[in-house]
């Protein structure tokens, strides 16, 4: 009986492909827009996730995100180290500066100063150069997206001298990190160098990076730090979340993308619903005939469900593959999409949406069939 249903469905190629297109298009639209939305707001968390070594970030109580931070006095580092349960702590400076390239272009940069001795706070992946290069005088390490922004394509920036706030800075390496939301150029340097690069204010240290001792969770130690020092301590995931929330609160991105995702859903429902109900209405005589030969309403429901699932499966398969390839090829080729990935939840969510969509339209179309008299076939 299911086989008859499938043949009924695929009998009219035009309608069948129309249905497939509708499902595939809305699956593509929903998953791709959701993915770009998630990735865009996760740019607020890249500064945290780019540093693999620290699981606690300590900051002034008024600091909100990696880029919206009030510096602390230098003894805050010792205060954090003194808290029982802190395995280690190291200073970090994040501050804006302007840089002038040898061509004379001006560019805003984020200077990140990492601990002189241990270089904690430096990203893991190097495109070019090594960690040790940072020990050279006036050395900075640039991020790959920033290098692409500052220099023409195919240009090797190693050894290039920059003018950073009137001081000499020499690029000694390139790291592979995900760009931040503002996708400013990031220059990593040692803490003592960063103090010289960034115009002086009274307090300089933006963050203290810390790690919890064995046997304690980051959350427990963060609570202890806050209790003991009065500073704000956030675990890695909490602070990443803070960066994301900051973007959600301060930009129109969630609304814009929410509208697009809703439109994808509505377009999908409209196309699939209309085509599907038209298709069923066209075949109402056949359903009548089936009823006449004694097929129950349940059997007919099963038939429509089988038709819906086939359309859903094929349409979803096409749509999700296109979305996945779009994101992964975009991430590997364009600096604008660098670091973009498809969170595994989104294909599942899209699948749920497609199933819901197809079942709703199927159910709506089915209502007329269920009411059909077997005599319909003779009209």
């Amino acid at each position: 009986m299911t086989w008859i249903a499938i043949r009924m469905l695929t009998g009219d190629r035009q309608k069948f492909f129309g249905l497939l297109f509708g499902v595939a298009f809305s699956a593509l639209l929903i998953s791709q827009q959701l993915t770009i939305f998630v990735n865009l707001i996760e740019r607020g968390a890249t500064a945290v996730y780019n540093i693999p070594t620290a699981n606690i970030w300590v900051m002034d109580p008024v600091s909100r995100t990696p880029d919206v931070a009030l510096p602390m006095p230098s003894t805050a580092l010792d205060k954090v180290r003194s808290v029982n349960g802190v395995e280690w702590a190291s200073p970090m400076l994040r501050s804006g500066a302007t840089v002038r390239t040898p061509e004379g272009d001006l560019e805003g940069v984020t200077v990140v100063g990492v601990d002189d001795a241990t270089l904690i706070g430096l990203p893991k992946k190097f495109v070019n150069g090594s960690r040790e290069a940072l020990y050279e005088p006036d050395a900075v390490i640039i991020d790959s997206v920033g290098a692409a922004k500052l220099f023409p394509e195919g240009f090797d920036p190693i050894g290039v001298r920059l003018e950073l706030n009137d001081r000499r800075a020499v690029i000694r390496g390139i790291v592979d990190v995900d760009p931040s939301f503002t996708s400013q150029v990031i220059l990593y340097t040692r803490y003592s160098n960063a103090l010289a690069f960034v115009p002086g204010t009274r307090n300089r240290m933006s963050f203290v990076l810390a790690n919890a001792s064995e046997g304690l969770t980051a959350k427990q130690v963060a609570t202890r730090i806050t209790e003991a020092t009065g500073l704000k301590a956030r675990t890695r995931d909490e602070f990443a979340r803070d960066g994301v929330d900051f973007i959600i609160e301060n930009t129109g991105i969630p609304v814009n993308f929410g509208i697009t995702v809703a439109l994808g859903f509505i377009v999908g429902v409209a196309i699939v619903g209309l085509t599907f109900s038209l298709f069923i209405r066209d075949n109402i005589k056949q359903f009548g005939a089936l009823k006449a030969i004694g097929v129950t309403n349940n059997k007919i429901r099963m038939m429509v469900a089988a038709q819906a699932l086939l359309v859903g499966l094929v349409g979803y398969g096409i749509g999700i593959l296109l979305a996945a390839i779009f994101i992964s090829s975009g991430a590997s080729s364009s600096p604008d999409f660098k670091g973009f990935y498809t969170p595994w939840e989104i294909p599942l969510l899209t699948a749920a949406v497609v199933i819901a969509m197809i079942l709703i339209t199927g159910w709506l179309a089915l209502r007329s069939v269920l009411k059909t008299e077997p005599a319909e076939v003779f009209r």
Binding site: I6, T53, D78, T118, I120, G200, V314, G317, W344
Partner: protein, 337 residues
């Protein structure tokens, strides 16, 4: 008809392709997940747990210094430096010469004074001879019994000549003492031109070279390095800054654990020496002239054992024992609210 074709594209191949597409999409998605794993730092940072196990501790940063503290050598006389006797790293005993300032002027003063002494001595001889002559002549007159044989005038002249000769002798002796005093002063100055070590110490830095001008007030302009820095480096001390908010937690007179910057695995136990009685503004090591400071620190002095490879001026990370159960300042404030 379709059945005769065997495999239907739409009904068989398309669903299979759809399943394959979903599998490929799943692989693409799963392989693209970001790497957010945590990892240990490549270079180990200083760790409180490694210092005292799970005991509470107070962290501070410090600088290694000589146990005598650094002595900036000055000079008491100005002049061109002609000789530097020591090199950085030398061990000197108390009184050993460090450098010499041009002594030609003083030496000529000494020979001048010596010449003046010789001259005064010659004058004394002359005065003595005159006195002897005057006495003989005077006694010649006084031996004549008849007063009418000599005039009164002659007698007065002779005795006056004796007194004059005596005064000249005293004058000559005073001149000798004066010239001797001048020579003694010049000799003292000659000694002062050689700058000597005040204590047994190691030469830490030498910033003066022959030909340079040394001033009693330190290098001209007030800035600049001292001429020489010395200090007793056996044993070395370390001066640890503790944030004023943490003072109440520090367990005084217990040992501390210090590690040189960048070598957190080298943990050295240091013995408590003293706490500075004055809480001072934190010295920042960025050397920025515009720097303002609002943090005050208590300075604790600890003694580090010898042969640990520490150098004077080296920065260290330190952990000091905290009182058990001592609460932090911030905590107390919130409790008393």
């Amino acid at each position: 008809m379709n059945r005769l074709r065997g495999v239907s594209f739409v009904r068989t191949i398309l669903p299979i392709l759809a399943v394959i597409a979903i599998i490929i999409a799943a692989i693409v998605v799963m392989s693209g997940q970001p790497d957010r794993s945590e990892e240990q730092p490549e270079i180990s940072p200083p760790k409180a747990t490694a210092a005292f196990g799970n005991q509470p501790s107070v962290a501070g940063s410090g600088v290694v210094e000589p146990s005598s503290e650094v002595i900036n050598i000055g000079t008491s006389l100005a002049g061109i430096v002609t000789k530097v006797y020591v090199a950085p790293g030398d061990q000197v005993s108390a009184g050993d010469p460090l450098f010499l300032i041009d002594d030609r002027a003083i030496r000529s003063q000494i020979s001048e004074a010596s010449a003046a002494i010789a001259q005064s001595r010659a004058a004394r001889e002359t005065a003595r001879a005159q006195l002897a002559t005057a006495r003989q002549q005077s006694s010649l007159y006084s031996n004549i019994e008849d007063p009418r044989a000599v005039s009164q005038q002659e007698v007065i002249d002779r005795s006056g000549a004796v007194r004059t000769a005596q005064a000249q002798l005293r004058q000559a002796e005073a001149d000798i003492r004066s010239a001797e005093a001048a020579r003694a002063r010049a000799t003292t100055d000659l000694g002062r031109l050689t700058v000597k070590a005040p204590i047994a110490a190691e030469i830490l830095s030498v910033n003066v070279r022959p030909g340079e001008y040394a001033n009693p007030g330190g290098p001209q302009g007030g800035g600049g390095d001292p001429y020489m820095e010395i200090g007793n480096t056996a044993p070395l001390h370390v001066r640890i800054d503790i944030d004023e908010n943490e003072i109440g937690r520090v367990e005084m007179s217990k040992e501390a654990v210090v590690s040189p910057r960048g070598q957190a695995n080298q943990r050295v136990k240091a013995q408590f020496v003293r706490a500075e009685p004055l809480v001072t503004p934190k010295t920042s090591l960025t050397n920025s002239a515009t720097e303002r400071v609002d943090v005050r620190v208590l300075q604790l002095i600890y003694q580090i054992p010898s042969d640990q490879g520490f150098f004077v001026g080296q920065q260290v990370d330190a952990f000091v024992r905290a009182k058990n159960g001592a609460r932090n300042g911030a905590k107390k404030a919130s409790e008393t609210k």
